[in-house]
């Protein structure tokens, strides 16, 4: 089963699902509009992707500034 998920067809299916997510967002009824982003179709898709990229890049950058140390750091 796991091997089936690693094929190209599965990958295509996954990308298709992502596109479908954005397309359907154009017709989803909006009852709870809290701020401008809630009115833009696909806003949360973009938000999720950018959030993920920012978290990874900024965290790793901070980590390599000196937060990440060898495991024996406190022993010396």
């Amino acid at each position: 089963m796991i091997e089936a998920l690693r094929t190209k067809a599965a990958k295509k299916l996954a990308y298709g699902a992502l596109i479908l997510l954005i397309v359907v967002d154009f017709i989803i009824p909006r009852h709870e509009v809290h701020f401008f982003g809630d009115k833009i179709p696909g806003f949360w898709s973009l938000f999720g992707f950018i959030a993920c990229v920012l978290i990874i890049i900024i965290s790793k950058w901070i980590g390599h500034l000196g937060l990440m140390q060898d495991e024996s750091y406190y022993d010396e």
Binding site: L18, D38, W44, G48, A51, G63, M68, Q69
Partner: protein, 599 residues
């Protein structure tokens, strides 16, 4: 009197854990396992049958101690604490070390004691009991790392406890009233005595809630704890603190800022972390951040959200700790750089862990979705857009790490050909129960909503909200797979705010070396002269008597005296573990004395 605490109306669930825990060493094998499970189930049913009201009030010196203050808020926390007690005991039922069971029982009993405390003194008593019992769950790992980490854990909690006590004493001296009441702290720093009292109490609470910069003890101690101990610890300390914050500090704006910072802080450290259990520990900080922020907002919807979130969080976080704990139990490591490819040998454990991961990420149909979204929506409705956006960002980070990074690097990633199998049946049973709760609460959320303290209508499964969550989560997943190379784990530790006390202590040791010499040579000698010498002397006398008596016919008595003299030497062992044991014993004695004391 005792009869009051043991009447049919109100049976204090702590009493089951505290009294029941005492008898654990008397049983063996299956009977012991059945007994422990029975005690935890009885405590749960005691909560089910509990009517609202005030029970267990005792006069002690000039103070009125209230052990049983029952309302909707305390009851919902008692429900989840006793449910978690049952799950935790099932998961750890194979453990041979009675001390570990005993510590866990007193830890759970302590948190239930805090939950029903009606006055600050009772709260403080159980608060300290939690710290002094849970530290043994770290020490019983018995590795040098966990011994050190346990000491640091204890120091943080003793410091936090003393700050809390200072706040309580100040509050008492101002108002002459010890009963727990709503004392929100406004502004950023104290301006008069009353706000100083609130301030100190808030600090005492947020040390236990692991709010930065006071939260470094959590990712330090939890991964160092035993496999089963960490499961208990992930559930009780921080959530008891959240409960106390709701009771006393709801609506303190400072908590909004601290909570939001916390939610993101945990996510950033989770990127850097290589140890799966420490990564989860950082995600406790992130998740408790939502709760702390919600308490700060303090609207009925926000408080409901915090309570629901705490309830679900205990279940899915313990499930995650059980899953990674099982991997540690079977393979001997929880480092992501040493794991990979376990889906062939531990597929069922993977499924439970992924269920925990989807729940914490608030995937629709899982428990996090019906709880976390309530707090986040409360921020949206309050039009605090910056906090709302920051919490949504942290949600993406949660899925990125707990839902994707942990399962990927343990069960897939690079296959390292590790020999493994599924964990023992009891560990698996506990994970099945946890998984059922996570999925069950995500679908049948109405019974949970009925337990919440405020009556506010909230519908989680609106079309837009469901779609919004799916978009954020699935596009986070896209980001994860595109940046997988960058996320590859590195075998490092991350410096946290405990750098200051840890390095500071070393600097202090160096600076105070001359002082330490005086202490060691002068005070140490006085101490030896006044305390150790007489005890050793007494021991010697016993030994002399012993040999004289042995020369005679009373051989048995002689052995007894020798044993006594050895015991007396042990009292002054100089090991803090022993002192901590005495302190716990003292607490128990104190509680029993208070309960049986004539009024």
């Amino acid at each position: 009197m005792m009869s009051e605490i043991f009447n049919i109306q109100f049976l204090h669930p702590s009493a089951f854990y505290l009294l029941g825990g005492l008898f654990i060493p008397l049983f063996k094998g299956r009977i012991k396992q059945g007994y422990m499970l029975f005690v935890t189930l009885m405590a749960f049913f005691a909560v089910v049958n509990m009517p609202h009201g005030t029970y267990g009030v005792y006069e002690f010196l000039n103070w009125k101690l209230t052990f049983g203050d029952v309302d909707k808020l305390s009851k919902v926390f008692a429900y989840i604490f006793t449910i978690m007690g049952v799950i935790g005991v099932i998961y750890s039922i194979h453990v041979k070390n009675d001390g570990e069971h005993f510590a866990a029982f007193y830890y759970v009993g302590g948190s239930l004691g805090v939950t029903f405390a009606g006055d600050f003194l009772t709260l403080f008593l159980f608060w300290e009991m939690m710290a002094f019992s849970s530290v043994f769950l770290v020490w019983f790992r018995k590795s040098p790392v966990s011994v050190d980490s346990g000491f640091r854990y204890l120091l943080w909690h003793v410091a936090g406890g003393l700050i809390l006590l200072a706040g309580i004493i100040l509050q008492y001296s101002i108002s002459g009233d010890l009963s727990i009441q709503h004392l929100p702290f406004s502004g950023w720093w104290p301006t008069d005595l009353q706000s100083l009292a609130s301030f100190l109490i808030v600090i005492g609470f947020i040390v236990n809630a692991a709010v930065p910069p006071f939260g470094a003890w959590l990712p330090d101690a939890y991964p160092a704890a035993t496999v089963t101990g960490a499961v208990f610890m992930s559930a009780f300390t921080t959530k008891t603190a959240v409960y106390a914050l709701i009771r006393v500090c709801a609506g303190s704006e400072i908590l909004i800022v601290l909570g939001v910072v916390m939610a993101i802080y945990g996510v950033v450290y989770a990127v850097l972390e290589n140890d799966a259990r420490r990564l989860l520990a950082y995600h406790i900080i992130s998740q408790v951040g939502y709760m702390v922020a919600g308490v700060g907002l303090g609207t009925p919807l926000a408080i409901n959200g915090v309570v629901a979130h705490a309830f679900c969080h205990i279940l899915y976080k313990s499930l995650l700790f059980m899953g990674t704990g099982s991997v540690l139990h079977v393979t001997g490591t929880s480092k992501l750089t040493e794991l990979g490819g376990l889906y062939k040998t531990m597929p069922r454990t993977m499924i439970y862990t992924v269920i925990g991961g989807l729940s914490i990420s608030a995937f629709p149909l899982f428990s996090g979705f019906v709880s976390k979204s309530m707090t986040v929506t409360a921020f949206g409705e309050a039009h605090l857009t910056w906090a709302f956006m920051a919490l949504m960002l942290a949600s993406a980070g949660t899925f990125l790490h707990t839902g994707l990074k942990v399962p990927y690097f343990i069960w897939f990633g690079k296959d390292r050909g590790i020999k493994a199998q599924e964990p023992p049946w009891n560990m698996e049973l506990a994970m099945i129960i946890g998984s059922l709760f996570c999925v069950g609460l995500g679908i049948f959320y109405k019974p949970l909503y009925a337990l919440l303290p405020h009556s506010v209508h909230f519908e989680p499964y609106t079309a837009y909200h469901t779609w919004e969550s799916l978009q954020v989560l699935l596009f986070t997943q896209l980001g994860f797979f595109l940046l997988l190379k960058k996320l590859w784990c590195e075998d490092t530790i991350s410096l946290d705010t405990d750098w200051f006390p840890r390095k500071g202590a070393k600097a202090l040791m160096w600076l105070t070396k001359p002082l330490a010499n005086i202490e060691y040579n002068f005070i140490g000698e006085i101490y030896e002269f006044i305390i150790q010498k007489p005890i050793m002397g007494a021991a010697k006398i016993f030994k002399v008597i012993d040999t004289v008596v042995v020369d005679g016919t009373l051989n048995g008595l002689g052995k007894l005296t020798l044993a006594c003299s050895r015991k007396m030497q042990n009292v002054q062992s100089g090991q803090i573990q022993h002192y901590a044991m005495f302190i716990v014993a003292g607490f128990i004695a104190l509680i029993i004395i208070v309960m049986v004391l004539p009024q």
